[in-house]
C-alpha cells in the first residue's frame, strides 16, 4: 500500500481554456441527500460536509433517518449548506446520491426538477426516460475497490463520494482532508491513508465529462472578530451545555435517542472530577440522580418517553421534597415503544403533568442544536434557584441533526460547582413557607443542632410529616408559586417577521426551522405573517396575550396528534390558558419532521407559493403547489414514509423488548455519532 498518498490538486488543471458552460455556477445554498444503507457510512460522509460547511463559516443544517437495526437497512443523510441563514433541512434535494436501486426509487421524488442524480452505476439503473433530472452515473463501487485494493472491498464508497461531491461543488479540499485526518487521528495510519486514497480517487474522477456543470458557493467575507463556528449534533450540545452549567453528576439507562447524551457524559464527566452512572433501570437512574442532587451537586437524568414514564414517581418526590433535578426527554414517537427512531412532540403533557398529585415542575424546549447548549445552562440555573425539577425537551430530529453555530463564550458561561456546606444559622427551616428555599446538603453543620429532614410526605417547615389541611394548602401553594415567580422573570419570545398581521405561527421545540422558513416564504409573497417560538413552555412567560392580540389568527404548529377535540398539546394548553378561540392547531403524526410546504399548505389552504429558489439565475419560476389536505400531503410524503416503514419493520424483527432496546442503543452508537470527537468503533468498516 502506498504509505503517502498524494493529495488532489486544489484547483482543477485543464490544458484548454475553460469552457463557458464549465465555469462554476455561483450558488448560495444547496441541499444534498445521500441515500444508501446504514453500514455504508453515509452519515460520516454527510458529517464531513456539515463540518466543512461549519468551518467555512457557512450555515449548515442536516437531517437524517436511522434504521432501528444494528447494521443494514436504508438510511439517509441530508445536508443543506448555504451562505445565508439556513433554517430547515430543505423540502427537496438539489442533488441526490443513490448508492442502491432502492435508494434511487425511494428518494427520486425528493429530487427537485432539474436536480442532479449522482448514482452508483454498478448498482443502480435509473429510468433515463424521465427527463426531469440530470443523470450522472459513476461506477462508485468498482472505482472504490480499484482505488483501495482488494482487502477494503467497497468500504470507502462514502469517502469516494465525498471526493466526487468536493469536485462538483468546488469544496475546500485542504480543509476536508484535514477533517478526515482529524477524524481518524489516533487510529492506524493505514486507515487515514486509505481514506485519503478513496477521497483522492473520487476527486480525480473526470466527472466533468458527464456533468457539464460545476457549482461554487458564494463566499461571504468573515467579519473580523466573528466567533468561530462549532459543528455538533443536538445531543452533544445538550451534554456539553450541562458541563458548562456545572452539572458534574448524573445517571441514566440506555434508550434511543437519549443514549448518546449519557455516553458522552459517562466519558466526559470523570475528566471534570464528576461521575455519570449507568443504572440498572430508569427508576434507579432518577433515584441516584436525586441522591447526587441531595448531596449538593445538581444532577441530571434523562431518557425518551418510555423511560420518563418510569421516572415520574421520583420526579413527584423531587417536587414535594423540593430537590432540584434536571430531566432530559429526547422525544420519539409514542405511546409505548412506539417509533423508536422517528420524531414526535407528543410528550409535552407528560412533561408538564406526568405523575400523581399537584407536582409543579418547569418545562423548557430546545429549538435548535445551538439552543440545546444554552437551554441546558438555563435549566440548571432555574433548577438551582427554584429548587425544583426542570425538564428539557428535545427530540430525535434535534438529537441527530448536525448544525454549525457560533462558538459560545465559555469563559463567561462556565460554572464550577461546589456543594454549599456553610453552617446554617439557628432556626434554619428546610421548607419555610414564606420564601423559596434550598435544602441543606448532608455535611452541613446546623448551628442549633436541629437537622432537617427531606421528605416526600406532606410536611411542616422543618420537614416533619403532617396531615394538617392548612399546611397541605400552604405547601401546595408554595411549590406552585415558584413557577409563578419564574413566569414573571421570563422574557417574552421575539416575533419573527411581521410584528402584527393576519397570521401568527406558534411553535415549540425542533420545528423552529421549518416554521420560520414557512413564515419567510409566505412573507416573500406578501402575506402578513409572524412567528414566535416558545422555549419556556411551562410556565409560559407572562404577556403572550399581548402578542396574540396583534394577529387575526394564531396557528400552533406541532408534531403530535390533534386529540379528540381537534387541538395539539401546546394548542390545548394555550386555548385553556388564554380562552382564545382564534387559536388554531396544525398537527401531524407521520413521525417525520415538518416540511415547509406542509406548514404553508395547512395555514393557507389552496394558495401556491414559489419554491425555495423560485427564480434562480433567471430561469422560469418554479411553483410548488401546496397540498390542500392531509391526503395530498400524505402522497407527497411517500418516499419518507417508505424509509420509516423500513425502519419499523426492522425494529419489529428483534425478538424481545430487551433485544430491541439493545439494538436501538447500538444503532445509536453506530449511526448517530459521526464526529471526530467520538470514538469511532466502525472506522475500519467505513473507510
Amino acid at each position: 500500500m502506498n504509505p503517502t498518498p498524494t493529495l488532489p490538486e486544489t484547483t482543477p488543471t485543464t490544458g484548454a481554456p475553460e469552457r463557458a458552460d464549465l465555469r462554476p455556477e455561483s450558488i448560495d445554498d444547496a441541499v444534498i441527500r445521500l441515500a444508501g444503507n446504514s453500514q455504508d457510512g453515509i452519515q460520516s460522509a454527510g458529517a464531513f460536509l456539515a463540518r466543512l460547511a461549519g468551518r467555512s463559516d457557512q450555515e449548515v443544517m442536516t437531517y437524517m433517518t436511522i434504521p432501528a437495526t444494528i447494521s443494514g437497512g436504508p438510511s439517509i443523510f441530508q445536508v443543506r449548506m448555504g451562505t445565508g441563514e439556513v433554517l430547515s433541512a430543505g423540502d427537496e434535494a438539489d442533488f441526490l446520491v443513490a448508492f442502491y436501486q432502492h435508494s434511487y426509487q425511494d428518494h427520486i421524488d425528493f429530487l427537485k426538477e432539474g436536480g442532479v442524480l449522482l448514482y452508483d452505476s454498478d448498482n443502480v439503473e435509473p429510468n433515463l426516460d424521465d427527463r426531469r433530472f440530470v443523470y450522472v452515473g459513476v461506477p462508485i463501487t468498482g472505482l472504490t475497490v480499484e482505488a483501495l485494493g482488494g482487502t477494503a472491498k467497497d468500504k470507502g464508497k462514502n469517502i469516494f463520494v465525498l471526493g466526487l461531491i468536493s469536485k462538483i461543488f468546488q469544496l475546500d479540499v485542504e480543509k476536508l482532508t484535514m477533517l478526515i485526518k482529524e477524524k481518524f487521528a489516533g487510529k492506524d495510519e493505514s486507515i487515514v491513508n486509505t481514506a485519503i486514497m478513496a477521497f483522492t480517487a473520487g476527486y480525480a474522477y473526470p466527472v466533468g465529462n458527464v456533468l457539464a456543470r460545476r457549482y461554487q458557493f458564494e463566499t461571504v467575507a468573515k467579519k473580523p472578530g466573528a466567533p468561530a463556528q462549532i459543528t455538533m449534533d443536538g445531543n452533544q450540545a445538550l451534554a456539553y451545555g450541562l458541563i458548562a452549567a456545572g452539572v458534574r453528576y448524573g445517571a441514566g439507562y440506555p434508550i434511543t435517542p437519549w443514549s448518546s447524551v449519557m455516553e458522552i457524559l459517562r466519558r466526559e464527566l470523570p475528566k471534570y472530577g464528576g461521575l455519570f452512572v449507568q443504572a440498572e433501570d430508569e427508576l434507579a437512574a432518577v433515584s441516584i440522580t436525586l441522591g447526587f442532587s441531595y448531596s449538593g451537586y445538581l444532577a441530571v437524568t434523562g431518557s425518551a418517553g418510555p423511560g420518563i414514564s418510569l421516572k415520574t414517581e421520583a420526579i413527584g418526590w423531587a417536587s414535594m421534597a423540593e430537590i432540584p433535578i434536571l430531566i432530559i426527554n429526547v422525544q420519539r414517537g409514542g405511546p409505548s415503544t412506539g417509533l423508536p427512531t422517528n420524531v414526535e412532540q407528543s410528550d409535552l403533557f407528560q412533561a408538564i403533568y406526568g405523575g400523581h398529585g399537584d407536582s409543579p415542575r418547569v418545562v423548557l424546549a430546545a429549538s435548535t442544536v445551538e439552543d440545546c447548549f444554552y437551554i441546558a445552562i438555563e435549566a440548571a440555573r432555574i433548577a438551582r434557584k427554584y429548587s425544583t425539577p426542570v425538564f428539557i425537551l428535545s427530540d430525535s430530529s434535534l438529537a441527530t441533526r448536525i448544525e454549525a453555530f457560533d462558538e459560545p463564550d465559555l469563559a463567561n458561561l462556565m460554572i464550577e460547582p461546589h456543594p454549599d456546606l456553610t453552617p446554617r444559622a439557628a432556626g434554619f427551616k428546610p421548607y419555610a413557607l414564606d420564601r423559596i428555599t434550598q435544602h441543606a446538603p448532608p455535611g452541613t453543620p446546623m448551628a442549633d443542632g436541629k437537622y432537617p429532614l427531606i421528605t416526600g410526605l406532606e410536611h411542616d417547615e422543618m420537614g416533619h410529616p403532617t396531615g394538617s389541611p392548612k399546611l397541605h394548602m400552604g405547601m401546595t401553594a408554595k411549590r406552585r408559586s415558584k413557577l409563578q415567580k419564574l413566569a414573571a422573570e421570563l422574557p417574552l419570545p421575539e416575533i419573527f417577521g411581521d410584528q402584527e398581521g393576519d397570521v401568527l405561527l406558534v411553535g415549540w421545540g425542533s420545528t423552529y426551522g421549518p416554521i420560520h422558513d414557512a413564515a419567510k416564504r409566505a412573507r416573500s409573497v406578501g402575506e402578513k405573517i409572524g412567528a414566535i417560538h416558545l422555549r419556556h413552555v411551562h410556565p409560559l412567560p407572562e404577556g403572550l396575550e399581548k402578542i396574540f392580540s396583534k394577529f387575526k389568527r394564531i396557528v400552533v404548529v406541532e408534531m403530535n396528534d390533534q386529540g379528540i377535540y381537534g387541538f395539539g398539546q401546546l394548542a390545548t394548553i394555550l386555548r385553556a390558558r388564554y380562552c382564545e378561540p382564534k387559536i388554531q392547531s396544525v398537527t401531524k403524526t407521520d413521525g417525520l419532521t415538518f416540511r415547509v410546504k406542509e406548514i404553508l399548505g395547512h395555514v393557507f389552504e389552496g394558495k401556491t407559493f414559489p419554491g425555495r429558489r423560485g427564480a434562480r439565475n433567471g430561469s422560469a419560476g418554479e411553483t410548488v403547489t401546496v397540498p390542500i389536505d392531509p391526503t395530498t400531503a400524505a402522497a407527497t410524503e411517500h418516499a419518507e414514509a417508505e424509509v420509516s416503514a423500513a425502519a419499523d419493520q426492522s425494529g419489529d424483527n428483534t425478538p424481545t423488548k430487551l433485544g430491541s432496546e439493545a439494538a436501538e442503543a447500538s444503532a445509536g452508537t453506530n449511526e448517530t455519532r459521526p464526529d471526530s470527537a467520538q470514538t469511532e468503533p466502525s472506522a475500519s468498516r467505513e473507510v
Binding site: F292, E407, H418, D420, M446, I454, T455
Partner: protein
C-alpha cells in the same frame, strides 16, 4: 445559588460530644412492642459510641413502617419513595465520600418493590450500610403477605395461607454480590450492635437482615429464635485461625458456599456474619478512573477542558 458558595470551614477543634439526646428526634410512631424500637436504640448507641461527626451522618429510608426511621433520628436524612432508597443512597455515597450513609427499610421495600435495586447496589458494591428490618408481613398497610412471609401465613391477601415461596434473604444477598451479609434479631441488642458496628466498618455494600417482630400483624413470628420466649438464638462461630481442631468446624466468612449452607438451615436458622469479602467498592473504582483520567490530562481547569473539546469541533 450553590455554585457561588463555598465549602464549610474545617470543623472547630473542640467538638461537642455526640449524645443520645443530640441524635434523638420525634418520638417513634411505631406500635408499642414493635421490634423496630430496639433497632433505633441500637443505632443511637452505635453513633454515640463511635462519636461520628454529627453533620456527616445521613439516615435514609424508603417506604414502610420501618422506613419511618429517619424521622426519629436528629441528623441529615431523607424519606424517599417505596423501594428506591438504595439508588438514592448510592448517589449520595458516590458523590460524597465524607459521609456515613445509613439506610433502613423493611422486607417489602428491600426484597419486593426494591428487589432489583438491592441486587444492583450489592453487585456494584456501593459503600453504604443497609439494615433491613424484616417482619415477614406488610404492616403499614395492615397485614398483607410480604416476600418473606412463610408458606401458610394467613393474611388479608392470602386468607387461605400464603402459597408463594418466600425469599431467602441470606441467599439472595450473597448471590447478588453484597460484600458484607449478616443476620440478627431485634431482641438480641448486643448482637445487633456488634453487627451494625462491623457493617459500618466494612468498606462496601454491607447489609444486615434484622428479624423485627410486628406485634400487631405477625406476633410471635420470631419466638423460635428468642431464648426468652423458649427459642434458641444460635450464633455463627467464626474461624479464629488459631490452629485448633475446633477451628476446622468454624465458619469462614469469605467462603461463599459455606454461607449458602448456613442460609439453607431451617427457620429460625443461625445469626451473625454469613459472608464478607474485600472486593473493591464502586466508589474506589470510579475514583481511580477519575484520578487517572485527570492525571493523564494534566489536572486542567473545567474551562480548559471544555474549551479543548470545542476546539476539536471547529
Amino acid at each position: 445559588m450553590s455554585d457561588t458558595l463555598t465549602i464549610a470551614e474545617p470543623a472547630a477543634p473542640q467538638r461537642e460530644k455526640l449524645t443520645k439526646k443530640a441524635i434523638t428526634a420525634d418520638h417513634p410512631t411505631w406500635c408499642p412492642g414493635c421490634g423496630d424500637f430496639a433497632v433505633l436504640a441500637c443505632y443511637y448507641k452505635v453513633l454515640e459510641k463511635r462519636q461520628s461527626e454529627h453533620e456527616k451522618i445521613v439516615t435514609l429510608a424508603g417506604i414502610g413502617c420501618s422506613s419511618r426511621f429517619p424521622y426519629f433520628v436528629n441528623g441529615h436524612g431523607a424519606h424517599f419513595i417505596h423501594g428506591r432508597a438504595v439508588p438514592l443512597a448510592s448517589g449520595i455515597s458516590l458523590a460524597r465520600p465524607d459521609l456515613h450513609v445509613f439506610l433502613f427499610g423493611g422486607d417489602g421495600d428491600g426484597f419486593s418493590i426494591g428487589g432489583n435495586h438491592l441486587d444492583h447496589g450489592a453487585r456494584k458494591n456501593v459503600n453504604l450500610t443497609y439494615v433491613i428490618m424484616d417482619n415477614f408481613v406488610y404492616g403499614l398497610t395492615k397485614k398483607q403477605t410480604s416476600p418473606t412471609s412463610p408458606i401458610g401465613f394467613k393474611s388479608k391477601t392470602d386468607p387461605q395461607g400464603a402459597i408463594d415461596q418466600p425469599v431467602n434473604a441470606m441467599k439472595k444477598l450473597v448471590a447478588s454480590g453484597a460484600t458484607f451479609v449478616a443476620r440478627t434479631h431485634a431482641s438480641q441488642v448486643n448482637h445487633m450492635i456488634q453487627m451494625i458496628e462491623r457493617a459500618m466498618d466494612h468498606q462496601g455494600f454491607s447489609v444486615i437482615e434484622c428479624l423485627s417482630e410486628c406485634v400487631e400483624f405477625f406476633p410471635g413470628a420470631f419466638d423460635p429464635a428468642n431464648p426468652r420466649k423458649g427459642g434458641s438464638f444460635e450464633v455463627i462461630q467464626e474461624k479464629k485461625y488459631d490452629n485448633t481442631p475446633e477451628d476446622e468446624l468454624r465458619h469462614d466468612v469469605t467462603d461463599e458456599l459455606a454461607a449458602y449452607k448456613l442460609a439453607q438451615l431451617p427457620f429460625p436458622g443461625v445469626f451473625g456474619v454469613f459472608y464478607q469479602n474485600d472486593r473493591p467498592t464502586k466508589n474506589a473504582l470510579e475514583k481511580k478512573w477519575i484520578d487517572s483520567t485527570r492525571e493523564k490530562l494534566g489536572q486542567p481547569s473545567d474551562l480548559q477542558l471544555l474549551q479543548k473539546t470545542f476546539d476539536r469541533m471547529k
